[in-house]
């Protein structure tokens, strides 16, 4: 037998019991050729190209899933940041109101294309504005509430800061209000339009995970990127290790587990790409939780040894986890990219929700945790009456962590209309639900009003 029964059963157990899956195969499509000053032609071009390129994505992913026995949960699409594609049409539009209408039309065209090919999300309604904004960038930002309210599958993002450029505080200051407006425009769905909008520092151009996926600058015409997930597999491996083993053995166990799931995930991703006849892009090994019990990053931290997520020791445990996942992934494949680490979205992780409900986990601890792991303040429901300048402060704090530490950070918060701290919200499905987190009663109105730029950090004297 080329494999032992134990090895075969280990693989099967990972899938059947421990929720190992390919979270997403995301087809990145360049839309640059779609640009035209003619607004009608622009929407038609965008729709036509997405449908043409992605028409076989869903059936091919299903076929590969059946043959390899590893579930592919989502098929998704990412496109060129839309602000770059609409530039000629925005200039031709003349007024900012007309420009925003064009943006909303493009948003709807993307949403229709996603529905047509059967993907649940399409990302890339985005602007890259870490240093400054063009008229198209502003038009996109201003159109966000209407664009997200009139679509269901569209995901939007703004890269508002980078280590090379600093923080664009003019944009961040405006985004506080825009986030409130998105929440109000989607109030009938608990403000869940905000769950499809992320603000980034150091945004990667090849991330397959939503809501932040884009087909970035420097990417090829088409690329298939794969997001692998397996918090449950890591959790069970640590539980099997026992509580009396030293931390380097915990790290080693995580590394080995990450290695195995990355290898299997790469095989599946390359097979999907080969059958679609498109180049394989990158593999993003990120522990992305789902609301299901046993598929939680919080539970991993508790298995490493904190009583409840948010307790002292949580940041250290998360740092160990995130680093070991990256090491295992990087050894397993030379195509690792995207975010690759541990995600800590609150409402999507039953363990995080429990930590919040028990009073162990709050916004401030989450912010500290994001300095050592992937992404940032993710899927956090806030009181509906959170002032815009407080949101600006939350954004600026989180993005500063990314800028100073040369890493990606992001904010996806939902000020839930009509709800107060402690009340519950339910977004349904993968987005989950949970209690509204309290925010500080103290604001930062003056900081938010100053606007301008927080300069890029010094690259030397690093202490």
């Amino acid at each position: 037998m080329p494999f032992t029964t134990q090895e075969i059963l280990e693989t099967i157990r990972m899938v059947e019991v421990e929720h190992f899956d390919i979270r997403t195969v995301t087809l990145g499509i360049s839309l640059r050729e779609c640009a035209t000053p003619d607004a009608k032609a622009l929407s038609a071009n965008v729709y036509e190209k997405v449908v043409r390129i992605a028409s076989r994505l869903v059936p091919v992913a299903q076929e590969v899933q059946d043959e390899f026995g590893i579930p592919i949960i989502n098929q998704r699409i990412s496109v060129t940041p839309v602000a770059l594609v609409v530039e000629p049409a925005v200039v031709a539009a003349g007024s900012s109101a007309a420009a925003q209408e064009i943006l909303v039309e493009v948003a709807r065209a993307l949403d229709r294309a996603a529905a047509e090919v059967g993907v649940n999300f399409i990302g890339g309604f985005s602007a890259l504005v870490d240093k400054g904004c063009t008229p198209a960038d502003w038009a996109l930002i201003e159109s966000l509430p209407a664009a997200l309210a009139s679509t269901n599958r569209l995901c939007a993002s703004v890269n508002a800061a980078s280590t090379r450029a600093g923080l664009n505080m003019d944009v961040i200051a405006r985004l506080g209000t825009i986030i409130q407006q998105i929440a109000r425009a989607t109030a009938d769905r608990g403000g869940s339009g905000c769950a499809r909008f992320v603000v980034f520092a150091n945004m990667p151009g090849d991330n397959p995970f939503m809501a932040g996926a884009v087909h970035g600058l420097g990417e090829p015409e088409i690329a298939l990127n794969v997001g692998i997930s397996g918090p449950g597999v890591v959790l069970e491996a640590i539980r099997r290790l026992g509580k009396n083993r030293p931390l380097q053995e915990v790290a080693e166990t995580i590394k080995r587990t990450a290695f195995k799931i990355t290898r299997a995930g790469e095989l599946v991703g390359r097979e999907v790409a080969a059958r679609l006849g498109v180049p394989f892009g990158i593999l993003d090994l990120s522990l992305a939780p789902t609301p299901e019990v046993g598929d939680s990053v919080a539970e991993i931290l508790e298995a490493i040894g904190v009583d409840v997520v948010g307790a002292p020791g949580t940041t250290a445990a998360l740092a160990l986890l995130n680093d070991a996942v990256k090491k295992g992934g990087a050894m397993a494949s030379t195509s690792v990219g995207g975010l690759s680490g541990a995600f800590i979205p609150v409402t999507e992780d039953a363990g995080m929700v429990a930590g919040v409900a028990r009073g162990a986990l709050g916004l401030e601890k989450l912010e500290a945790m994001t300095s050592v792991c992937s992404v940032g303040l993710d899927m956090i429901p806030l009181p509906g009456d959170t002032p815009a300048h407080t949101l600006v402060g939350i954004l600026a704090d989180e993005l500063s962590i990314g800028v100073i530490n040369h890493k990606t950070t992001a904010v996806r918060v939902i000020p839930v209309p009509g709800k107060k701290a402690g009340e519950r919200v339910d977004f349904g499905g993968l987005l989950g639900g949970g209690p509204i987190l309290p925010v500080s009663a103290f604001g930062c109105n003056v900081l938010a009003q100053r606007g301008g730029r927080i300069p890029a950090p010094l690259q030397s004297l690093r202490n």
Partner: protein, 124 residues
């Protein structure tokens, strides 16, 4: 085992068989050959006729069995089998459907996957 039968046989046909056997491992090979290999796993409560039924489906569709192993822990039965679908008369998904249906009749779980998954995960 084959190696014992062949020992001390000089250049006899057995010896040639032994050399051929030693230079190839039963379930690896070129990437193309590897693509045709599947792993069938059966899990469930032991009963008479599980292997007969599962291998019957494989034989009916010209799937060559390269290796097979079974274990029984108490009442729990597990079987793993490696097959070659290079000459199978139906596509993978249909074979899968028939094997899963056979498993349902027997009250056991049948999984069928391409072997590459296990190669990549356990034989880096």
């Amino acid at each position: 085992m084959e190696s014992e039968k062949a020992s001390g046989a000089g250049n006899s046909p057995q010896r040639l068989t032994l050399e051929a056997w030693a230079s190839s491992s039963p379930a690896s090979g070129s990437p193309e050959e590897s693509k045709n290999k599947i792993v069938v796993t059966v899990l469930g409560k032991d009963r008479i006729g599980i292997i007969a039924r599962v291998t019957g489906v494989l034989a009916q569709h010209h799937v060559n069995i390269l290796d097979i192993s079974q274990t029984i822990f108490g009442e729990l039965f597990s079987m793993t089998l490696i097959g070659d679908i290079g000459r199978a008369d139906i596509p993978f998904v249909e074979l899968k459907r028939e094997l899963v249906a056979a498993g349902q009749e027997l009250g056991v779980r049948v999984l069928i996957q391409r072997q590459e998954v296990f190669e990549r995960m356990h034989r880096p």
